[in-house]
Symmetry: C2
C-alpha cells in the first residue's frame, strides 16, 4: 500500500519570512477506514492568509492554533476513494479542511460535497473561504449602500478581488489598493474597479484625493501598511472599516500601530473585525447571497497554481512578496 | 442699561495649553428682545471636553467649529428675564447652548425648560451633556451585558463617572482609570466602582491583569494615552470599544497612534466612535432611560465650581492637568 505524505507544523513563526524549518515532511502509514469514515484523495489545496493565524501561538485567536507536530491546517478539494460512510460514496467530489497531505480520513464532519460543474481552482477561489469571507465582510459587516465609495486593500487578492466586484455590482464607486502595476491593470481592466492605487507609488494621498473625491464611506482592510492612516484621514462621517486581514503585519514581530482614534470620534467611524470561523454556520446563507453574482458573470477570478505538496511551504511567502497572480492553490 | 460681557474665540488652539490670547473679552450692547424672542440671564455655564472640538478648525468634525470672532460655545442654565415668546415667560428656568456670556437672546430653538427641583450644578452634571453622553455611549453603543467587565477611562470625569455607575447598577464588573489617587478613592469608595487604576502608577499591565482577571468586554474611552494599548491587549472576543473622548490628544499637534488592528481581527472587536450632536433628537428617550437610575440614588456626582465668566478660559486647562474634582462649572 502507498504511504500518505504529510507536512507537520513543528515550530511557530516568529517574524520574517516562512522558513522550511517550521515544517517536517513525513511519510505516514495510510489510515485504515473504519465504520462511518471515508478516505479522500486530495487534488487541490488552498493557501490562505488565515494560515498565519493558525500557525501563531496566540490562544486568544479565533480558532485554536495548529498544535506543534500536527498536520498543517488547510482547506482542499478531492475525491472519495474508499468509504464506510452512508452519505459519502466512492467518486464523490468533496471539500473540507483536509490539511497538508495527500490523503485525508474523515467522519464527514465539516466536509461538503461539491456539485457545481466548475474546476477545482474556481471552487476554491470563489465558493470556499475567499467568497464566504468577502460576502460576510462586505454585506454583513460593511453594509454597503449604492453610490458610496469603497476602498479595498489587497484588491487583487483572493478576498479583495471578490469584495470589489460585489461592491461594483451593487453600484458603489470602487477603489482598489495593490502592490504591483500588473495587478492594478487587472482589477481595473478585467474586474471593473473604478480605480487602482499601487501603494508602492508616490503621492498616495494625492491619488486618494483624486480617486475618492467624495471621501471614503467603506474601507475593506486586507493588508495594513502605511496607507491605512491616509485612508482613515479621508473617511466620511459614519464611515465603516471592515478589518479582515493585516498581511503587512503577519511577518513582523511587533505589529505596527494603528490610526489614532481621533477620527473615530470626529467622523463617528465604526471599525469592526471579523473572521470566518464565527460564521461557518451561516455558510449556506452566504453562498445563497453570493451565487447569483457568480451566475450573472459578475465575479471573475484567477488562480495561481503551484505544484506539489512541498511547494506549499515556500508558497506562503508569496503572500508577503505579492508575487502571486491570483488565488494561491497547490496542485497535488 | 447694563452691557453684556462676552468672550469671543479669536484664534484657534494649535497644541499645548489653552492661552488667554485665543479669546477676547468684549462688552456688547444688551440685545433688544424682538417678537418671538426672550432674554436669559445665565447663572451657570458648563465646561466640557467637547469644547476642544468646537474650537478646532477641522471642518470634518461633527459640528461646525465656532467661527473666529463669535462667542465661545457652551451650554448653560439660567432664568428668563424678558420675553416676547409665547412659550417662555419671565422667571422660567431654562437650559441650552448659551455661550460664554452673561445674557443670551433666544428664539426658543434648542432651549429647554428645566423642571427638576435640583440645583443648577446637579442639572448640568447629570441631566445635560454628561448624562446624555454616558447613556447614549454605554447603552446604545456599548450594549453592556450583566456579568461583563467594563473599563472606563477618565472615570472620575463628568461622563466616565456616570458610565461606571450605570454599568455597576446593571451588574457589570467596573474598573475605572484615573490620574490621581484622590479620584481613585472617590470612584471606588463613593461611587462603588469595583477597582481603580491610576494610570500614572507602575505596573499598569499587572493591575489590569489583577482587576480584569476575566479579560475586558467593554472599553469606554474618554482619554487615550498609553494605557489604551494595554487595555486592547486584554480584550475578550467580541469586545466593544466605545470611543467618546481622547483628552490626552486634544492638546497635541499630532495625535498619538492607536492600537494595531491585529487584535481587532483576532478578537473580532468593534471600535465605534460617537458624538452627541448626532443624537440630540433622541434626548427625550435618553433622559427617560437615565432618570430611573438617578431617582433610585444610583448616580452620584460632584461639581468643581469656578467663579466668574473669565475663569472659563483658564478653567479649560483643568481638563489637561486633571486638577478638577468633578464636573467643571462656571458660576456667573
Amino acid at each position: 500500500m502507498t504511504t500518505n505524505t504529510a507536512i507537520n507544523l513543528i515550530k511557530r513563526p516568529s517574524g520574517g519570512p516562512i522558513n522550511a524549518d517550521l515544517f517536517a515532511v513525513v511519510e505516514k502509514e495510510m489510515p485504515g477506514v473504519g465504520a462511518g469514515e471515508f478516505l479522500v484523495k486530495q487534488n487541490h489545496m488552498s493557501l490562505d492568509p488565515a494560515m498565519f493565524g493558525w500557525m501563531s501561538p496566540d490562544t486568544n485567536s479565533y480558532i485554536p492554533p495548529v498544535a506543534l507536530g500536527d498536520v498543517m491546517r488547510s482547506s482542499g478539494i478531492g475525491e472519495v476513494i474508499e468509504s464506510k460512510h452512508p452519505d459519502f460514496k466512492v467518486g464523490d467530489r468533496v471539500m473540507g479542511m483536509m490539511g497538508w497531505q495527500h490523503y485525508f480520513l474523515s467522519n464527514g464532519q465539516g466536509v461538503n460535497k461539491v456539485d457545481a460543474p466548475l474546476p477545482d481552482e474556481a471552487i476554491l477561489s470563489i465558493f470556499a473561504l475567499p467568497g464566504l469571507t468577502a460576502t460576510q465582510g462586505l454585506f454583513n459587516v460593511g453594509k454597503p449602500k449604492k453610490g458610496e465609495t469603497i476602498i479595498v486593500t489587497g484588491a487583487a487578492g483572493s478576498v479583495g478581488s471578490i469584495v470589489g466586484q460585489l461592491a461594483k455590482a451593487d453600484g458603489l464607486h470602487v477603489i482598489g489598493v495593490v502592490g504591483r502595476d500588473e495587478k492594478a491593470d487587472w482589477i481595473v481592466n478585467e474586474l471593473g474597479f473604478d480605480a487602482a492605487i499601487n501603494y508602492k507609488s508616490d503621492d498616495l494621498d494625492g491619488q486618494l484625493a483624486r480617486y475618492a473625491a467624495n471621501g471614503i464611506d467603506l474601507y475593506f482592510e486586507n493588508t495594513g501598511g502605511p496607507i491605512q492612516n491616509l485612508i482613515v484621514e479621508r473617511m466620511n462621517a459614519h464611515g465603516r472599516v471592515v478589518v479582515c486581514g493585516l498581511i503587512a503585519d503577519y511577518d513582523k514581530e511587533v505589529a505596527s500601530p494603528g490610526p489614532s482614534w481621533i477620527n473615530v470620534i470626529k467622523r463617528r467611524l465604526t471599525i469592526q473585525g471579523f473572521t470566518m470561523p464565527d460564521h461557518f454556520h451561516e455558510a449556506p446563507a452566504l453562498l445563497e447571497k453570493l451565487t447569483p453574482y457568480v451566475m450573472a458573470g459578475k465575479i471573475k477570478h484567477r488562480s495561481h497554481v503551484i505544484e506539489g505538496l512541498e511547494s506549499a511551504i515556500e508558497g506562503l511567502n508569496l503572500f508577503f512578496t505579492g508575487e502571486n497572480k491570483g488565488k494561491l492553490i497547490v496542485k497535488l
